[in-house]
């Protein structure tokens, strides 16, 4: 079917012909689409058969305790595994991470011990040869701990700093995988060689490192060419048609997920790029709409089959078995045209053709100016599948500056090919507040982590005193957090460098240091309770607060009440500015997120009672959401409170999960779609940054909780991300059900 003799059709030429610049290519050659969804095609017979095989394999995976098979003998790399197929005859887009569907591979450079543990949990053993390799080399995990000081270790073990990528791969970096399709390996190597030549003169540390990194990237590019040839693909040259373009992009991504198992490895923003090739082939009559859809369906199917080997504890924290293959769809060009193309629709259509799914994590970049037909289709897909999340394209373009970006992990802007991100997990801010109330001691064990925090003697907490202590504590926590991140990323670069991904990024990219906060709504409510109500601290014999008695009512975050919303804003700004005072490794730019993914349940478990009346062990609200059930004035008041948080203070993202039953969106289908579009328009017009939309019935969830076997594909969105409901732990499932449902009476 590949017609290799065909001449490349005339494309509009520009800067992209002179240097590596995919944005320029897309801007010049894209065909914006302003129509509706009526052109879309269903799945082909081949796709359906292929998907049935995948469904059966996923069932086996679940039956085998969440892991179908492991290769315990091979260290995974770009060329480590021979070609793998689901069913060669049926596949139009080829490539698996290993030689077998859903077989997981070991990527031990993040930390061999974690890999050994994960393999042992499945009743198997890492082969002796691989273990021995690590007698002679170092992994990221070992290296980080070699540099950690005692303070960092304490902060880590006491749960002040959590989820740090210090024993697993950091992820978050997005390669501009489109580059492979547009340029081919040979041209990319040429450009890298040229970059390297330019790094000369006095050899500073920076230059030495850069020369080594570029060399690694060139090695990766050569490996990718070899990997392609295993599938009979000639990746040395650019893709010449739509099918090749999809295949090439996937090969670039596949190399990344063979080499790395980062916590989140996004795809970027490929749909409208691919559309250029698809439109060209369609115009020539070279392919039909069915075939175009088939390419996308099968590509997406492959993305759904990406797996990493994870320890059970990891699944527990993150909920399910996520890979965060985030694809950003839509948005506007800086020149005012829409980036929406027919292929934006085709990506969303996979949720019908293959059924709902959390992966790939489809993220719509929402602009007020998106074409109406696209807005309506998004709303419809949300109502039908709950599998889309939304981010504010107008806001990100304005504040961050580029119109060619992907979403790293769940919510974070990342300019493609120009900037990367250093993932920083997050600080547990409620625990920081509790240290401020306990003379710098951790609230459970009493370990002293902070010096010079005066003790609060009074029975009732005093707002000024608490604030003074809290700010002092935040200053200290920011200091420790910053040095921790610098160590982690220095070592990750050194011992587990993402050469396959960075081969598709400019040689000396801009970097964002992505710090994070968990528990902002608890902080806002706690401080509001102390300020506007009366909060009595109940202390144990060691003088540690074990509980709080809140007397009188107080304004709660989530009710559009400025008295408390302003506290949330002030604390975010304060902490963000504190972090920015510290120098980052590689001169990274400091950013902050208000995001927890699913780990809000786990944070809750480890955090003592808080002054807002939350009991010890109770779950945090996800992301920047108000606490469960405290948003008493309905959905809009709740959305307004979150929208007031300033994106400029939290440029890594402000995550908000919005759950609603379909009936609450309106009485009929047309109203529901209209109202959801209206809601998204308004939330983003008010500068809300991110919104996860769950359109679900409580009954559906209760039934799924009781009979998980009947709901293999039920997807729900949690902060920044979607998961398969049945892959969540029972505790997570209940938490999701308990979460404010915005039901109305």
């Amino acid at each position: 079917m590949l017609n290799l003799s065909r001449e490349v059709l005339a494309l509009r030429e520009g800067d992209w012909n002179k240097r590596i610049d995919v944005r320029d290519f897309v801007t010049l050659n894209v065909t914006p689409y302003y129509g509706d969804a009526s052109f879309l095609a269903g799945a082909t017979e081949r796709t359906k058969q292929l998907w049935q095989i995948c469904i059966a394999a996923m069932k086996e995976e679940r039956e085998r305790n969440g892991c179908r098979a492991i290769d315990t003998e091979t260290i995974s790399g770009i060329t480590s595994h021979g070609p793998g197929y689901i069913n060669k005859e049926l596949e139009v887009i080829m490539g698996l991470q290993t030689d077998e569907l859903l077989k997981r591979a070991m990527k031990p450079f993040g930390g061999i011990r974690v890999v050994e543990g994960a393999v042992a949990e499945k009743g198997q053993q890492v082969t002796q040869r691989v273990k021995e390799i690590f007698d002679y080399t170092k992994d990221h995990n070992n290296a980080v701990f070699a540099a950690y000081d005692e303070e960092i270790r304490n902060y880590r073990s006491q749960g002040i700093l959590t989820g740090l990528p210090d024993n697993y791969a950091r992820g978050r970096i997005i390669g501009d995988y489109r580059r492979l399709a547009l340029y081919g390996i040979d041209r990319l190597i040429e450009a890298k060689e040229e970059d390297k030549r330019l790094v000369d003169g006095e050899m500073t540390e920076h230059k030495i490192r850069l020369r080594e990194e570029i060399t690694d990237q060139i090695i990766a590019l050569k490996d990718i060419r070899k990997m392609g040839s295993m599938y009979g693909l000639d990746l040395s040259r650019p893709a010449q048609n739509a099918r090749e373009a999809v295949q090439w992009v996937y090969m670039a991504y596949l190399a990344a997920v063979k080499e790395q198992d980062g916590a989140a490895m996004s795809l970027g923003n490929v749909s409208s790029f691919l559309d250029v090739y698809i439109e060209r082939d369609l115009a020539e009559g070279f392919i039909t709409e069915e075939e175009a859809q088939e390419f996308i369906d099968q590509f997406v199917m492959k993305l759904r089959m990406v797996r990493h080997l994870r320890p059970e504890a990891y699944d527990e924290i993150f909920g399910g078995d996520p890979t965060w293959v985030t694809e950003a769809i839509g948005g506007q060009f800086a020149d005012g045209r829409t980036k929406v193309t027919k292929t934006s629709f085709r990506f969303l259509q996979t949720l019908y053709n293959l059924g709902p799914s959390p992966e790939p994590n489809l993220t719509v970049l929402w602009s007020q100016d998106l074409p109406e037909g696209f807005k309506e289709f998004c709303a419809q897909v949300s109502i039908d599948t709950s599998s889309i999340q939304y981010e504010n394209d107008d806001l990100m373009r304005l504040v961050r500056g580029s119109d060619d970006y992907g979403i790293a992990c769940c919510v974070s802007y990342q300019e493609l090919g120009k900037r990367i991100q250093f993932f920083g997990a997050r600080v547990n801010l409620p625990k920081t507040l509790l240290m401020a109330l306990n003379e710098g001691r951790e609230e459970n064990a009493g370990a002293k982590l902070l010096e010079n925090i005066p003790s609060l003697e009074g029975e009732y907490l005093n707002y000024e005193e608490v604030m003074t202590n809290f700010k002092k504590s935040m200053v200290e926590v920011a200091r420790v957090y910053s040095k921790t991140m610098n160590i982690i990323h220095y070592m990750h670069d050194k011992y587990y460098y993402e050469k396959a991904q960075l081969a598709f990024v400019d040689s000396d990219p801009g970097i964002d240091m992505a710090y994070g906060i968990a528990g902002i709504s608890i902080i806002a409510d706690s401080l509001s309770a102390i300020k506007y109500g009366k909060v009595k601290a109940i202390r144990n014999e060691k003088g540690l607060t074990v509980d709080f008695k809140v007397e009188g009512d107080y304004p709660k975050f989530g009710n559009d009440d400025e008295r408390v919303d302003s506290i949330a804003r002030e604390i975010t700004k304060f902490f963000s500015e504190e972090l920015a005072k510290h120098k980052c490794y590689k001169n990274a730019f400091s950013t902050l997120s208000l995001l927890t993914i699913t780990s809000n349940v786990m944070y809750g478990k480890k955090t003592g009672a808080t002054p807002d009346g939350r009991k010890a062990g109770e779950a945090f609200a996800p992301g920047a959401n108000p606490m469960h059930g405290r948003d008493e004035h309905g959905a809009i008041a709740s959305l307004n409170s979150v929208a007031k948080l300033d994106y400029r203070d939290a440029q890594d993202g402000i995550s908000n999960t919005f759950s609603i039953v379909p009936k609450s969106l309106g009485s009929d289908r047309e109203d529901q779609t209209d109202n959801l579009v209206g809601l998204l328009d308004a939330y983003f017009r008010l500068n809300g940054h991110h919104l996860n939309v769950n359109v679900l019935n409580r009954e559906t969830l209760m039934d799924a909780y009781e009979h998980p076997e009947n709901y293999p594909q039920l997807t729900i969105r949690v902060s920044g991300y979607a998961v398969n409901f049945i892959r969540l732990s029972k505790a997570h499932q209940l938490e999701v059900i308990a979460r404010t449902f915005h039901e109305r009476m």
Partner: protein
Amino acid sequence: MIKDGLLVAQKVEQLNSEASNRLRVHSIETFGTHDGPGIRMVVFVQGCQFRCLYCANPDTMDVKGGHFLEIEELVERAIKQRSYFGKKGGVTVSGGEPLLQRSILKKLFNRLHEEGVNTVLDSNGRLIDQQAKDLLEVTDLLMLDVKHFNNEWHKKLTGLSNVNTFKVAEHRESTGKPMWLRYVLVPGWSDQEEHLHELGNHFKDYKTIERVEILPYHQLGVHKWEALGMEYKLKDVSPPDAQKVEKTASIFMSYFKDVRVN
């Protein structure tokens, strides 16, 4: 005071003081999608003289309950939500029975109009005087709840007569301003086909009726009755099944062009 399981009749005049700028409010819902077009802020006001056996908000009946909110406070809240209203949405005042506070509501609606916010009144049509007419004048859409066509049944179901409700409808028609009819469908109580036909016949030539909404009876308010020490007399009545709802819709459709189930 509760008699025969129901709150006794109360004086309502004090709710309508012309000098007042405060509305007696039960609660506010910010994301109303079932009480008028588009996304709406719904203000549930306090006080009602009907005693509908199925009332889902029995805690709004007491004219002394709820709390006061200044008109300006309500306007300010509406402004904060205006982004969400879009082209169709706005503010709906429901209840309780809003007409009991008609002169205060007129001030509210005037202010909302000044801010470019659309106004909807959801009323049982309890009374019609000059002040009520003045309020209707600044009401962009009237949603009139007709509880029953037959006055005997109406009394059984609500405790009071339906005469004024029809007068309100007649007045609305005379002004040429739009209205929707809303009909709560209670099996065994308001589903008699002959009365549904009578209702259709009565209103079929009204030019101002843009839509008829059927609200299938539900029991979501039962727990509130118990909490108030009142007796929920429809305990044994189940919500209408899909067939019944469809039948009712088809009867209405023979008289009205836009019939919906809400």
